[in-house]
């Protein structure tokens, strides 16, 4: 749903103020601006599109509940929403720890390309990377997602996580090294299976 065009150019603070005064369209515009990043973050953190959607819904429900207390001067909306989504994802994952995930995001994604074989290969690589990220310890996973995937600055990530900037930087480096190592391990395993040969057979 698109909010009225007059709201598109409004700054976040003004949208919050209008939403606080009961303007539904202002709240819808806030949702429109931030739902995608919240969903992408929760989806990659949990490795599950279903959990991602649940967390997105809950995050905005929490924001709605606390809207009258929210002070834009204290933190930016994005920082607040990332923080809520992070807590909800972590608690959701803790709750679901005993369950085996069936919808982990490793599924092949269709990529428009003239060469179906290379598309397939790229899709496989992305799926592999998603799985490796989903298996990272959460303290490294969240930093990698926020910094490397969402492109946030160290300072922003530090504000979201409530940790010093130095910690963010060290966790990111450590997370990258773990990813590189696991990708190499996965590559070694897949080399045992002759992928190119399989492609020829197909």
């Amino acid at each position: 749903m698109a909010a009225p065009s007059s709201l598109h150019d409004e700054p976040d603070d003004e949208l919050v103020r209008r939403a606080q005064s009961g303007e539904r369209e202002a709240f819808a515009e806030i949702y429109h601006r931030y739902h995608a990043v919240v969903y992408r973050f929760a989806r990659m953190m949990s490795g599950s599109p279903a959990i991602g959607e649940d967390v997105t819904q809950e995050t905005f429900t929490v924001f709605l509940r606390d809207l009258h207390r929210y002070e834009p001067k204290c933190s930016r909306i994005s920082t607040y929403l990332y923080g809520v989504a992070r807590n909800l994802t972590r608690s959701g994952l803790r709750r679901n720890r005993r369950f085996v995930r069936l919808d982990v995001i490793g599924e092949r994604e269709p990529v428009a390309n003239s060469d179906p074989a290379s598309s397939f290969e790229r899709s496989e690589e992305r799926g592999q990377l998603r799985r490796v990220i989903a298996d990272l310890p959460s303290r490294f996973r969240e930093v990698v997602i926020l910094c490397a995937i969402h492109g946030l600055s160290y300072a922003d990530v530090a504000a979201i996580l409530g940790t010093p900037v130095g910690t963010v930087r060290s966790r990111l480096n450590r997370g990258r090294r773990i990813i590189a190592k696991r990708l190499r391990e996965a590559e070694g395993r897949s080399d045992a299976v002759p992928r190119r040969a399989a492609r020829c057979v197909v």
């Binding site: 749903m1 539904r24 709240f27 995608a36 819904q57 990377l129 990220i133 490397a148 590189a180």
Partner: protein, 201 residues
């Protein structure tokens, strides 16, 4: 450790980020969030309305207070000056109060019996026969009081107030004051009503 693996990882992460830009949330989430907004704002409005005192309170409470004051005042007045025979007003219109003799249900029967027990009261100049014929609608909240402790009190009240006392009024929402005579016990509680006439302005 060489920087090549890091560069490869960064490149893979960038490619993943580019792919990730295209994922979209189901419209179901959007609908659920805005439904939550509607629900919360609807609840807040309802809660605000619930905290406001009902308008009926502003009508019923003063009407009841006025009725009690009028009853007490008239009682004192009638003790000092015995009430003359009621003369119908020129514009007085009878309203639809059921006849006592119709005997609707046990309460009315009880009230009829009670009315027969009521002796002419010192403060009233009405003949006993008229009293026996007309009184009848009982609003007694407890056991009937001793008939010798009853007093006739005349009062005016709105049709709505009369209806709230349990009198079957045809249209209680119509404006107008009703003049009634009541049997009031020593405790000030009205026991019976009779002779209800609509008084025009």
């Amino acid at each position: 450790m060489s920087h090549e693996p890091d560069a490869l990882v960064d490149e893979a992460l960038r490619a993943l980020a580019a792919d990730d830009e295209h994922v979209s949330v189901s419209p179901r989430v959007h609908d659920a969030v805005l439904r939550e907004w509607d629900q919360q704002h609807g609840v807040r409005k309802r809660r605000r309305m619930r905290h406001q005192p009902s308008r009926l309170v502003w009508v019923v409470v003063p009407a009841a207070a006025a009725l009690m004051l009028a009853a007490a005042g008239l009682q004192r007045e009638s003790v000092r000056h015995p009430m003359p025979e009621a003369v119908p007003r020129r514009n007085a219109v009878p309203i639809d109060v059921p006849a006592i003799s119709s005997g609707r249900g046990p309460v009315l029967e009880e009230s009829s019996r009670h009315a027969e027990l009521v002796s002419p009261i010192a403060v009233s100049t009405r003949p006993p026969a008229a009293v026996e014929r007309s009184f009848g609608y009982v609003i007694v909240p407890g056991p009937l009081v001793d008939p010798s402790a009853l007093h006739v009190v005349r009062a005016r009240m709105s049709r709505a107030a009369l209806a709230s006392l349990g009198m079957p009024i045809v249209d209680p929402n119509v404006d107008g004051v009703v003049e009634v005579e009541m049997l009031v016990g020593d405790d000030g509680v009205a026991q019976s009503i009779r002779h209800a006439t609509l008084v025009g302005d």
